[in-house]
């Protein structure tokens, strides 16, 4: 008989929590309740290249504003932009600019309000080979022949190198999945808008996975953010055209754009950001926030 008195109470509590859960679910379906209880939440999803950076921002921002919880998820810039269009995010992290068609869709979805773009860091998208690979530099045209549809280069010997540990001489192309902003950026910057990727590349889901795989595979070549370099791989120099001097990926060459694959990393807000989001963005662009960019291995927007 003891529990008969408790049961209605528990039932009520269950029902109440269900109702609360539902009404919250309607507005923000991906957010879990913030840890601090009453605090506000900023949800950021997107670029895998930027996920470590945004995570570091989130952790440091917590020290400054304990009442604001910044929730970070990866998945690729495409995932972030899709989430922005669907209206389930406060900020989308993207390692490429939004396409005009995406901006149009987002604008339609949000009652004519255009998404707002914030360049928050710079990156020299690096081309990595295995550390034993003797290749030092490559021209962007050759890179396009390796990665592009109907490209003519598929052997290391065509680039004039013999790679130790790669008996088959085949160039193994490591790339990113098509939800990746890096994948889209690399296609546009290297292959141009009118050329597709050659099918059959090894598509990895993360920036780190690309570098890890290249580090374990002597025959491989891959592209990933400059912050992901490890001792197992070697970033090679790029020349804008054959005959021009090749440039190494560095903070200097990212800043003065002498490196062919220098790009910006963005945060997108679905419209004018809410006050607490705006405050976060201001902090990200402040010297304090930009120092974290350097710590992670990228380049601050205004140089260091």
């Amino acid at each position: 008989m003891r529990y008969t008195r408790l049961t209605p109470i528990t039932t009520l509590a269950c029902a109440a929590s269900l109702i609360v859960g539902c009404s919250r679910g309607e507005k923000r379906d991906t957010a879990s309740p913030p840890a601090a209880g009453s605090g506000v939440v900023i949800r950021i999803t997107g670029s895998d290249t930027m996920v470590n950076l945004v995570q570091a921002w989130a952790e440091n921002y917590k020290k400054k504003r304990p009442d604001v919880s910044v929730q970070v998820a990866g998945g690729g810039s495409g995932v972030g932009i899709a989430g922005l269009i669907d209206g389930i995010l406060d900020l989308a992290a993207s390692s490429r600019e939004m396409e005009p068609s995406e901006i149009e869709r987002a604008t339609q979805k949000h009652g004519g309000v255009k998404p707002k773009e914030y360049a928050v860091a710079l990156d020299a998208l690096s081309v990595y080979v295995h550390k034993d690979n003797p290749l030092e530099a490559i021209a962007v045209e050759d890179l396009a022949e390796i990665y592009g549809d109907k490209g003519k280069i598929d052997k290391w010997s065509q680039l004039g190198v013999k790679v130790p540990g790669c008996a088959s001489d085949t160039i193994v192309r490591v790339g990113r999945q098509n939800s990746s902003g890096t994948y889209v950026y690399f296609r546009e910057a290297v292959l141009g808008r009118q050329r597709e990727y050659k099918l059959g590349s090894i598509d990895q889901s993360g920036s780190k996975d690309v570098v890890a795989l290249v580090g374990r595979t002597p025959c491989a070549i891959g592209y990933s953010g400059m912050a992901y370099a490890t001792p197992e791989v070697k970033p090679i120099k790029l020349a804008k055209q054959k005959g021009q001097p090749p440039v190494a990926p560095s903070s200097q060459s990212a800043l003065d754009k002498s490196y062919p694959l220098a790009r910006a990393l963005y945060l997108y807000s679905p419209g004018e950001p809410k006050p607490h989001v705006k405050e976060f963005l201001d902090w990200v662009l402040s010297p304090e926030g930009q120092k974290i960019v350097t710590d992670i291995g990228f380049v601050p927007v205004h140089g260091s």
Binding site: G76, A82, S168, V172, E196, L199, I202, D203, L213, R216
Partner: protein, 302 residues
Amino acid sequence: MRRRLPHWVSRSFEPLIEWTIRLCGWSAIFFVFGILFFVFREAAPALTSGLNLKEFFTSQNWRPDSTIQPQFGILALMAGTASVTLLAMAIAVPGGLGAAIFVSEYCAPKTREGLKIVIEFLAAIPSVVWGFVGAMVLNPLIITATGAPIGINILNGGIILALMSVPIIMSVGEDALRAVPDTYREAAVALGASRWQIVYKVLFPAAKNGLLAAALLGVGRAVGETMAVLMATGHAVQIPHSLLDPVRTLTATIAAELGETVEGGLHYRVLFVIGSLLMIMTLAVNLTADLIVKGIRGRQDA
């Protein structure tokens, strides 16, 4: 402390319990049809809005996100699924059935218990962990052993999937063998048959249905597996020419790409078409298995 419920309460509970149990039974059918309906409903608009079915099945160009001209050809993906599944089955069916025969017929009861625990532990390893083993351990091994340019390929995925299917094939196969009455074995021994002759001439025909079911359950696991093949096969869209070529499977494509699609877009719909295709494939496998088993049983009864 616990008091017995009055008689009238337990009386009125009984139909309630009966109905709950009945609901549990029916819910399986309800869920199967519910899922079928949902997947087909999401997929159907693709067929009327721009998906060229001929291109879909015969082209190997899978470029769903292209800004120039999106292409939805799944030939290479189907080849990927087929090649990895076939290799996995070529390893796992003999391996799993062999293990089942050894465990049920050859080994001492103590060894049997130990072996079963270990092999069934294999089944409890999450598929992501298997994928990890494929990408981190097998990849360099395959490169050094075969001289292949890359170690995440059909061979890698096939081995990983085979290891994942062996426990299922083994435990279902063993049950089937042990279900054969001992009188069969005794009769065979009395006729002077050797152990292998008993297995080959007596147990195989007697346990045919169960063994077939074991193999087909293994196929089902292999076709539907996603995470491990995503990590172990290389995720490369191409028609393979050798066991050492990386491939991409249908399931891995859905897993990798569904997150970035905008709900209701063509890419989203096409991924659901692939999902429907996978469901039709597994349904077909199960149905054939059922029919074969029924056919065998029918003939035996006659």
